[in-house]
Assembly symmetry: C2
Homo-oligomer: 214 residues x 2
């Protein structure tokens, strides 16, 4: 399993550490705020109180790590400095959280292998669900194709997939149907299947057509 070092145990860092530990990874967390560490102490391998901008401290813990996640919130200077140190130490996988586009670009230049923008990405997801009210979640495949989890439009209920002809009419294809009550998932449903009121559909297609198919 992965050995991971997580620097910063705020919201994002703590969730990364807990999720990885829950999946069996060996996780070491460093934070300079003992309150952040209190909740983690029993749940991750090691919770270190310390300043990760201190190169000596950092060096102690990077050895053998498969991945380092740097998540320092608004502390842009510290996240840049630590990412730089990690790059110099030859870390093979550095993932750093950015708070702005500029921050993200600088992180890439100095050696972050991946830059994550949790606030921005979740905001974009939220707006997708607001503007197309049926959409629950989505994966963007390309400009023209999304995989979307969406509530079944009112006018589909009781009708058969083949009769609705969504493929031709809306350019979308039904990949699976989940019943929201039973949780049962029907992968590649029969065209003779008639939508029920509690169905959620997983479709693939052009996002513009999807929002029209309300």
């Amino acid at each position: 399993m992965l050995q991971a070092l997580v620097i910063g145990a705020g919201n994002f860092g703590a969730t990364v550490a807990l999720e990885m530990a829950a999946k069996g990874c060996e996780v070491v967390v460093i934070d300079n705020d003992h309150e952040h560490l209190d909740d983690l102490r029993d749940k991750v391998g090691r919770a270190i109180l310390g300043d990760a901008t201190d190169k000596m401290l950092l060096e102690k813990f990077v050895k053998g790590m498969d991945v380092v996640v740097v998540s320092l919130g608004e502390k842009v200077d510290a996240s840049v400095l630590i990412t730089h140190h990690l790059h110099e130490m030859g870390m093979k996988r550095i993932i750093t959280k950015a708070t702005s586009k500029d921050h993200g670009e600088i992180l890439k230049i100095i050696g972050a292998h991946e830059v994550v923008f949790p606030e921005r990405d979740e905001a974009i997801r939220l707006v997708s669900t607001l503007v197309s009210p049926n959409i629950v979640d989505m994966i963007k495949i390309s400009e023209d194709f999304n995989v979307v989890e969406a509530a079944v439009p009112q006018e589909f209920i009781g009708k058969k997939i083949k009769d609705l002809d969504v493929r031709k009419k809306h350019g979308i294809q039904v990949l699976a149907i989940k019943n929201a009550l039973s949780g049962k998932v029907n992968v590649l449903p029969d065209p003779a299947y008639a939508f029920q009121a509690d169905d959620i559909m997983i479709v693939i297609g052009d996002p513009e057509n999807l929002s029209k198919a309300k």
Copy 2:
């Protein structure tokens, strides 16, 4: 199109406002920091400098709004107070950003219709992609089913879907294939299709089997 009020123009709020405006929504933003508003002024309907915990100010702008998004970062007290005021004013859709589980629970009790946790949710997504290295993005459908965008495992390349028999062997089903270079998407590929090195597959199935099918 939607009329939206966005309270707080930090990272999350600003992205929500810009994305909604770009999709044709009428957006009003309130923030008490003029620096936050400077970047938004030309791109959203109105950018108001003011304190949204002031009920009188808030009342001026909620009228006619379809949705209010409250995004005040670490200012838990202000986000709770504003959500409470909005609920009292009868707003039909209040979405508030939470920074912790407790914060989220309180927001629900006092009247938020939806609570969003950008940091937590993106952290969970990141860990999924770290622990199962091929996974690019995913939608969790149920405990047993995810829709996953994943790199094609090395040992699949050159082989036909029907010969790999992934459905029986791994309990997953290939819904679509995207070529990473051309961007071409092949929905419900023919079972005789042979995977190419630059293919990304979109599959549905049990996440445990998916991470084994590396």
